[in-house]
Amino acid sequence: MSQVPGLRRARQLTASVLPTRAADAYPSLAAGRLRKLGTAGSTGMLPFSGSGDGAIYFRDGKVIYAESDRTPGPAASAYKAYADGLPPLGRIMAVRAVTEPIIDAALELFTAQARHAKFRSARLPDVGLVSGIEVETLLAEIGRRQRLMKQISAVLTPDTVISRNPHPRSDSVRISAGQWALLIRVTHGSTPRNVAWDLGRSVFCTVTDAYRLLVLRLLLAAGQVPEHGLAVMSFVRAASLKKGDTMPVINARTAAEDTL
């Protein structure tokens, strides 16, 4: 009779029959699935379930929407604002309001290693004029955000309990309106994720802002703080790539393309 516990034995058997379910290789397999759907110009929905439920919606091979039950979705007005005639700055802000929740949800699905199910046709959400995000762009942005989260993960994750520091280090600190909104919503047992839901902001954005507030000693995180203090989060370090990786270049256009 086998000495291997039943649950572990079941996992071993599952892994041998369904190699795509191996935990360590799963993100690259999911990325490969997205790439195939993009290349094929697919339209429909790729559902995810497991650690976090959600779905990624495709139209003609581009990602037009993503949702996760662990991240807030876009504001109801976001797509309407995007569709309306706006000045350039308003349009850029509308672009951000539409794309940030999509990328945030996709990041969560990949980070939580939710399992994707069979791609199927589905009624697509009404996203107005949004043309969609290229799969490679989305994957590159997810990779960049994961590297950034990894930098700070020893101190702060979306689910780390945070609290306001009753004894701030300095009398004079300048913070943004978004950081202030975050700060005043922190109560007993708050985490960046539930504050993000309160604010209707992306979880990633809330984590990065919370980390900045930790650096300013306006917030405290549960657990040990490194003796040498907190390092400033670096986007440049997150942009460092392994050979062969790509980085997100949204809306890039070269002079050569302009002349076509």
Binding site: I92, M93, A252
Partner: protein, 124 residues
Amino acid sequence: MILNEAEAVLDPVADIEGFLLGCLVDASTGMILASRKDQGDISLPTAAAGAADIANVLSLLAGELPIDGLEDVMVTFRSQLYVIRLMSEDLDPNILLLVILDRARANLAMARREIRNFCVNFAA
């Protein structure tokens, strides 16, 4: 490509003498929202990430020193000029404009004026 029309907003910046690269960056997340590039050998992601880091580090000074908010940053390299400007003080999250210019061809004073005017018109 996401949001094809977003890149067109950077057309006026691309007309600046010596223009090499321009992009709009979300200062909070470091995400590039739109970009224009006239030269292939500049790493847009690295340049944009650097601009966001510089702006974030300088914003830490704002509470410690008697300065009234960051307006723009100019970095001079031997062959290039980097101009980083906050699109608007009132935005949250703030959007940064990064413009990289060829130092041999650009007039920094004129370029800065054009970038400032662009930002004013951009928000109007």
